[in-house]
Point group: C2
Chain length 148, copies 2
DNA sequence: AGGACTCAGTTTGAAATCACAACCCACTGG
DNA sequence: CCAGTGGGTTGTGATTTCAAACTGAGTCCT
């Protein structure tokens, strides 16, 4: 247990920071759609299932946090599209690890959509240590709370 | 765009399946606490910031989905603790990739908690292709929708 | 024995969010 | 002219969330 704060404030945590941006019910599904190269409001609404008004506020929030960008692609009539920024594309590892976990621990039945890696095989995410390159195995991590 | 359903049903998707289990505001923070080896209701409530009644229903849901297990560890008085199951521990890659994304794209300032790998360095998650072992780079994935 | 305290919740009532449908405006196509 | 599309906005209830108070079994202090 790294830091058990004495008062009642929640733990200071980078994971919580990330979830404040993409931790609601729809945001990661929106990012997924943009990964799938959908760009238009109506398509995103249909494919995620998010209500249109909720989707409007989520898209604005994601724009504000720099995860996606909104661009006008037609002046008459005014039409807009949404695209991932670099920060948004950097969520790929999160989606890919979620996809693997969902496949192995939630879904029964085959994956409806697969990713193919340029190596020629289906891409299945595996997390490695950046420093030594080894894959993560159980019991290999130790917590180090930063002093103060 | 792999499958754009003609009707208004959302896309059939493993990521959505995963998010239905751990995609709400508190579940992944609960899992984080259990990774940090907290086990007791009150500690989880304090460290996540979740209201106690919401936490109660989230814990039940996670138990129902097999992510955590509830065990009585004292009979008099009755006391319970929560622990990760194997399925819950399998969420480590999700938390670690979220942590990295939060650090690089949300938080400004140093990480309050670090993970040390047994190799001796700080553990920073990097996603690799299980098949070929190469790290994921941009533009290396192609979508393959499963027919029907 | 009395009183304070802990843990794991449950209850309460207000506040915020959500879902759903309808509406709007600027076009386009027939 | 009329219907349809894209990208929303508005209005109305239903649902969920929240913070704080309360419970109840049991322990600790004195």
């Amino acid at each position: 247990m790294p830091t058990a704060p004495a008062d009642k404030t929640p733990r200071d945590c980078t994971i919580a920071d990330a979830l404040e941006v993409v931790g609601d019910r729809w945001s990661l599904l929106v990012v997924r759609e943009l990964f799938y190269a959908e760009r238009r409001f109506t398509e995103i609404a249909r494919n995620t299932g998010a209500p249109r008004d909720v989707l409007t506020t989520r898209l604005r929030k994601l724009v504000d946090h720099g995860v996606i960008a909104r661009k006008q692609y037609s002046e008459h009539p005014p039409r807009y599209e949404y695209r991932l920024t670099d920060a948004g594309r950097a969520l790929a590892p999160v989606l890919l690890t979620l996809k693997r976990w969902g496949h192995e621990h939630v879904r029964n039945g085959p994956d409806p959509v697969l990713f193919d890696h340029t190596c020629g095989h289906e891409f299945i995410a595996e997390v490695h240590c950046t420093a030594c390159g080894d894959p993560l195995d159980r019991g290999q991590l130790n917590l180090r709370p930063r002093p103060q």
